[in-house]
């Protein structure tokens, strides 16, 4: 099936709104000229509320992982003790980055599918009071868990001087987060998830305390040296040629977010989460994550009666509905639905209805239309509340 017919519901990359696509098609401009300075000076402060940040948000040209690496190499030196919460592939990536860059890594390994408990972080921190930084994933894309990063941050700051560094790649722009309120020191993200852009742009929001550490840190770094990004930004520039077309698109993404209202954007993601989860329950599809730990941007299902890879294959071939499978030891065990960014309740109704057909083909038993009805009911109950 041609990609024109695809219904992209992987947990990133995600579909691009047509107006963002048009914005990205604007003619290229010189990256040292006035037009680019004006654009960058407009964009970086407008990103602040999305990150709940008091400081400008820095733009890096790279995948989300480049921002994770920037967070590690700018704040740590070899031998520094760090705590990393690992409850999936992306927590694991943070830990691998810290190990690669020769930190003294203490992992808090949490069962995949569960969120970390704040008290676990507190206990580890008490054992390792000389910890320089605590790394946590906001939304663990590989499982669909949303870790309580704001509570973790508050707790860490009560107990220690450690920085709290958060991977917000698959949450920023979809889930509420507030660096100011919670004391998160460094929050990084990527363009290709709830930020409704193609991959290739990464973000770093850096609090005051983190800046102090970054300024004093003499670990060798160049392309991802956040000091040079900040220095250049005062002149409306980036140190290296930035992903200009994604910057053009970002301007329109911010227009869309501001028109809808940031609160409403977050609310929409909550509604899509509820609709998806209620539908799964009605369809006897076991949710991999408990309600209290579940992400509002991605939902994981662990079927017991059929192979999730078969479901993905039929959904893709018959309807162009692209879902994600499991990663690492969850390969072949779960499937994941992304519902973030340029996605509305109408899209949820569509993929639930498609899933019902696919489940019929797989011989999975459920009351006809039960998923759709449950999703509709979840939607209407919220809509009533909103009235």
């Amino acid at each position: 099936m041609k990609r024109e017919w695809d219904l992209l519901h992987t947990p990133g990359p995600t579909p691009i709104p047509p107006s963002v696509d048009r914005a990205m098609s604007q003619p290229i401009i010189g990256h040292r000229g006035q037009k680019c300075k004006d654009l960058l000076k407009e964009l970086t402060p407008r990103l602040k509320p999305v990150f709940g940040s008091l400081e400008n948000v820095q733009l890096l040209t790279g995948s989300g992982t480049s921002a994770l690496e920037a967070a590690v190499v700018n704040t740590t030196a070899p031998g520094d003790k760090v705590i990393v919460v690992v409850a999936g592939a992306f927590g694991d990536r943070f830990a691998k980055l810290c190990q690669t860059y020769e930190c003294n890594v203490h992992r808090i390994d949490v069962e995949w599918g569960k969120a970390v408990e704040v008290k676990e972080v507190e206990e580890t921190l008490r054992e390792h009071s000389d910890t320089k930084a605590v790394f946590v994933t906001h939304c663990e894309t590989s499982t669909g868990v949303m870790h309580p990063v704001e509570d973790v941050a508050k707790s860490v700051h009560r107990l220690s001087q450690a920085l709290v560094i958060v991977d917000g790649v698959s949450s920023i722009g979809g889930a509420e987060i507030n660096m100011e309120r919670s004391g998160i020191d460094l929050l990084v993200s990527g363009s290709q998830k709830a930020m409704m852009l193609p991959p290739g742009l990464a973000f770093a929001a850096i609090g005051e305390r983190a800046w102090k550490v970054i300024e004093e840190n003499d670990r060798p770094r160049f392309y991802l040296d956040l000091r040079t990004y900040d220095k250049k930004l005062t002149d409306g520039q980036t140190p290296f040629t930035p992903a200009l077309s994604l910057m053009f698109g970002l301007e329109e993404v911010l227009n869309l977010i501001e028109e809808e209202g940031l609160e409403q954007v977050f609310e929409r993601h909550q509604v899509m989460k509820q609709m998806t989860r209620e539908a799964c329950r009605a369809l006897h599809l076991p949710l991999f994550v408990a309600d209290e730990d579940a992400s509002c941007t991605v939902t994981s299902i662990k079927p017991e009666t059929f192979d999730p890879e078969k479901l993905r294959k039929i959904a893709s071939e018959e309807f162009g509905l692209m879902l994600a499978g499991g990663q690492q030891h969850l390969k072949g065990q779960i499937f994941r639905i992304g519902h973030m960014g340029y996605t509305r309740p109408a899209n949820v109704l569509q993929y639930i209805s498609i899933l019902e057909i696919v489940l019929k083909r797989l011989g999975h038993e459920f009351e006809a239309g039960a998923g759709t009805a449950a999703a509709q009911e979840a939607y209407l109950s919220v809509a009533r509340e909103l009235v």
Copy 2:
């Protein structure tokens, strides 16, 4: 003036062909799905002739500098002796990268505006026979010099075991280069110059000898670890979410290059160089670089009778013609014209004709129409040859 009217003739970023722009607007696909695997497996071998490479070309998501950094961190360890040819801002960047990553750097400082002489490299190499790598810039964008990198490579390999690592950011896709013929070991580039794409994608073509060094090198690296790119490529994947829209565009760029013919693409850049240089001579605009050292993608002019910044300002404000100024100590001393990528002799005729008006406004003396006539003559003399 709105950017829709701009005539972008900086030496990168450069304009995007409409068909490439349309290709980039294709719907986003999952980066772990079959469609993306098919695309990557198609793209990387098709890049080989552009780099004159026997090996697949790796795609990185980042600015050109990310590829320079990848070249440094993958091939060197702290303390390694390296030679860096510095004859402008980008040679200087290679040297800074090597210094940042704690190499033992021997700079060959060449006067800005001149190309390195092969014998200088040979002499330095004789003095430092334990050199691990020689870093050279192909086109030094800041001056418009094209260094004889193929001759340097042959010479280095005659004298030593050192790797030859070349920055081809502003040459690849416009200037002929052949890794196989010359023995260049590692050749990196970016998307936003002669490759006719927006910034955000970077390339690394890696020869057999370089792979051996890279495999054995245990310097810590993660996002730019070329080993993981190669490993993932065997499965048609990149280690991290790639700049998908630029990959869609790259497919069409390769279509355009193949339709025109690679030889013809290189020839077109030579013609544009000759047209520009002959026009400058006729307009009494002093060329900053001698013919034998001059790049076919960018031409620098060092006016004696007027301020180049004034020329740039009028060209930009009155005609939307965007030219570049000088960098570092050449700021306010030179202006630079980019003629690469999606640029044809017709564009040269246009910017020369605009320059004539701007020069009139500046009170610069020249025979009316002399620049245009010289450019036309240069074009016709080649056209006659081609008949």
